[in-house]
């Protein structure tokens, strides 16, 4: 086992999906069976990534492997001076785990899609899009620099656009694709500016070099404000891609795409890219930036959880639950619980993909019915889907013995410790509230869908369990939601190999005074090594220790409460949900209408532009029609003048230069008389003229 083998395999994993994309896209029309090629490619990539994962974790546990090459090297670029842009990949433990997660889910989604998308008009094209998506996502995972991160970031945006809009004949799907693309853009602008700040100062895109410079005290433009700004701006990219408030609005709409796509992109991988980005830049975040991140994350998770309470579309509920869980991860990074955030990213990827694929199975069975009010009693018809769905629901609710409990408990303990250390108690309060809400709405979903009596008997009668290729991924993902894969002790996530050996919180590299005290490595830590593991201050260790049991007890209790209420309301009907909704109508509507955020955006950003132009036209009209004739005349005069300027001067200039070029061309062309002696005359005269002009005296 050598490093170069590992590197080459990783590159192979990266480029295989691209090959699949190219081949299937260009030849798919001619050979409709080619989708099997794409599936085969992903299978290969998945197997390779399993190998890479084990090789990395067993042979190079504490060592990063990377390789890069010079892409552009200019010794004297005008205005910029020396430029040396390197591209490369880096494999650390996080990368290896992400490779596995992305490939696994991509593989399962490919398999699931074979049946789910069967008979689709653009079947092979769908598979080729899955290929380019996987390629871009793997690029984000493997890269060792911000430039490639940005390129693949945009590629992910593009492929997500293509996949959401797969059924572009449907207006809502086309609109959702556009919305996703544009909203993501807004975040990306911030990220781009952040990257430029870093590049302008450090003249490199490489994470390692930037962090090394930072740890030597070289901060952008010698100002902590710039450093904080760079951190927050790059984080803006994550706000867009990971659907954080206020840019989370695209994700629920993106459910217009095919359901397997929702599982792949909008649950497990693409939205995790934002979290992954923050883990990458984690060490350069200052205390202020971290606080911003924590608050945005906490708020997002709360907003999304409250919205999810009242949604009736099965995929919308899952979408908001995804937003909420992503908020959890971001919040966790913000409070410094780095390892738990990444842990939650992995566990969430599995059970959320399972939930989405399960919902796909339900929708498939119900002939594209998505409203949970028309479902019910599906437990008997879809036993496999039901059990896998249930296991994942238990996991996301944070019930012990599941993976979700482990990671959520860790995050909550982290927030509690953060509250104790910094006094920001609002963050743990939000976190625990969300824990309860999550348990409630997820069980509401399960009960309404699978328990109780069927409400639409016609559809119920025709429902049928999904075939093997759809059921198998569900089972695999559900099995991965059990605690045993991550730790032997279901109540101590720290004891597991995942947390103990693989994922370690890296030490911050920002100047000590700009970071929280507890994030700074204690003085005994080894400062010379770049990627030193954090040696937490006793303060933090103590706080975590203190938070451990209260957080666990509280989270179990709140999850239990949520589940109990869900059962009371929907299973045993002890509480009438409708009456309750009537009683707190204002709150209910607020949640049902998603905090009116879409309306707010419509009213401000979107119609703001239109209204502003309307206002201007009204203003114009009043002036022209109104009493101030002189102004009107002046206005007309100026508009005429500018019109004339446009027609005669600007257009004229354009036309003239075209005409002039053409004229010159014509006259030059005429020199070519076709008679060889004319040419020779030109030569002789040229020699004479050159001699006259360049004679040395």
């Amino acid at each position: 086992m050598t490093e170069s083998l590992l590197l080459n395999l990783s590159l192979l994993i990266l480029f295989l999906p691209l090959l699949g994309f190219t081949v299937v896209l260009f030849l798919g029309k001619k050979f409709p069976k080619l989708y099997l090629f794409e599936v085969g490619i992903i299978t290969t990539a998945f197997l390779l990534s399993v190998f890479v994962l084990f090789a990395k974790l067993s042979y190079f546990t504490a060592q990063d492997i990377g390789s890069s090459f010079t892409w552009i090297s200019m010794s004297a670029a005008p205005l910029l001076g020396n430029i040396n842009i390197e591209l490369g990949i880096k494999i650390d433990n996080i990368t290896a785990i992400m490779l596995f997660v992305v490939n696994l889910i991509s593989f399962l989604v490919h398999v699931f899609s074979i049946e789910y998308m069967h008979g689709d008009k653009r079947y092979t094209r769908y598979f080729s899009y899955l290929g380019i998506f996987t390629f871009s996502m793997l690029g984000i995972v493997l890269t060792d620099n911000l430039l490639m991160m940005y390129i693949f970031w945009e590629l992910v945006g593009l492929s997500s656009y293509l996949l959401i809009g797969h059924w572009f004949e449907k207006k809502s799907a086309a609109d959702a694709a556009k919305k996703a693309f544009i909203v993501n853009r807004i975040g990306d602008i911030g990220m781009f500016i952040g990257i430029l700040i870093l590049f302008t100062h450090y003249k490199t895109f490489s994470f390692d070099i930037i962090f090394q410079q930072l740890s030597l005290g070289n901060i952008p433009f010698n100002s902590e404000v710039w450093l904080t700004a760079a951190g927050i701006l790059v984080f803006m990219g994550a706000v867009g891609k990971s659907a954080q408030f206020p840019l989370h609005v695209w994700l629920p709409d993106a459910m217009e795409g095919p359901t397997p796509v929702s599982a792949l992109i909008h649950a497990a991988t693409m939205v995790a890219a934002g979290v992954y980005l923050v883990t990458r830049i984690f060490v350069m975040l200052t205390a202020d930036a971290m606080l911003v991140i924590a608050v945005i994350g906490a708020f997002t998770s709360l907003v999304a959880a409250t919205i999810a309470l009242t949604q009736n579309d099965i995929k919308k509920v899952l979408a908001y639950s995804t937003v909420s869980q992503l908020g959890y991860m971001i919040m966790s990074l913000g409070v410094g619980a780095y390892a738990f955030a990444f842990f939650h990213l992995v566990t969430h990827a599995f059970f959320k993909a399972c939930l989405f694929l399960g919902s796909g199975s339900v929708i498939h069975a119900m002939h594209h019915e998505q409203d949970i009010r028309n479902m019910g009693g599906l437990r008997k018809k879809l036993p496999i889907t039901y059990f896998t769905f249930l296991i994942s629901t238990i996991a996301i609710s944070g019930v012990p013995l599941t993976s979700g409990f482990l990671s959520k408990d860790g995050i909550l303990a982290g927030t509690l410790a953060f509250g104790k250390l910094t006094g920001h108690w609002l963050i743990p309060i939000m976190g625990f509230t969300v824990a309860m809400l999550t348990a409630f709405y997820m069980f509401r979903l399960v009960i309404l869908t699978f328990h109780s009596e069927p409400r639409d008997h016609h559809k119920f009668e025709h429902a049928h369990e999904s075939p093997f290729v759809m059921a198998a991924p569900l089972v695999i993902l559900a099995v991965l939601s059990i605690f045993i894969w991550y730790t032997p002790n279901p109540f101590a996530p720290d004891a597991g190999w995942f947390m103990k050996d693989w994922v370690k919180t890296p030490a911050s590299v920002v100047p000590v005074e700009t970071q929280f005290d507890f994030m700074n490595p204690s003085s005994s830590g080894n400062h010379s090594e770049l990627h030193r593991e954090i040696v937490h201050s006793p303060l933090y260790t103590e706080a975590m220790h203190w938070a451990h049991y209260p957080a666990m007890a509280l989270s179990i209790f709140l999850a239990g409460m949520g589940i109990l209420v869900a059962y009371l309301m929907y299973q045993w009907k002890k509480i009438n949900a409708d009456k309750l909704a009537e009683k707190i109508k204002v709150l209910y509507n607020f949640s049902l209408n998603k905090w009116f955020l879409d309306e707010v955006y419509d009213a401000t950003a979107i119609s703001g532009t239109t209204n502003f132009s309307k206002f201007l036209s009204w203003f114009d009209n009043t002036i022209i029609d109104g009493a101030v004739n002189g102004t009107a005349w002046l206005g007309r005069f100026f508009s005429k003048l500018s019109d004339m300027f446009d027609t005669y001067i600007v257009d004229g200039f354009v036309n003239f230069s075209a005409f002039f070029s053409g004229f010159i061309g014509l006259s030059f062309k005429r020199l070519q008389t076709g008679k060889v002696q004319t040419y020779i005359v030109f030569v002789v005269f040229a020699v004479i003229i050159l001699l006259l002009f360049f004679k040395p005296f």
């Binding site: 070519q672 076709g674 008679k675 060889v676 020779i680």
Partner: protein, 102 residues
Amino acid sequence: MLSIPIEYYLILSAFMFIVGVTGVLIRRNAIVVFMCIELMLNAANLSLVAFSSYHGNPVGQIFVFFVMTVAAAEATVGLAIIIAIFRNKLTVNVDEINIFKW
């Protein structure tokens, strides 16, 4: 020893060269044009030989041998091409050979 000054050779050479260039420019018959080109080459040859004797080294004379060979080769190729064009067009008037222009 009485010798002809080099200027005489050079003036003759320049004159030949100018005659050659003028001939190339004003004659219409391709074969005559070609002869005028030979005249240009010979003008150069003359000055090479003159300079060779002036500098007292043989490089110029050796060069002339090569130039004569090249001129012969050029004449061969040239005449072959002129024949080819005569077969197609039944004329060797360079003014009429102008389907490519502009």
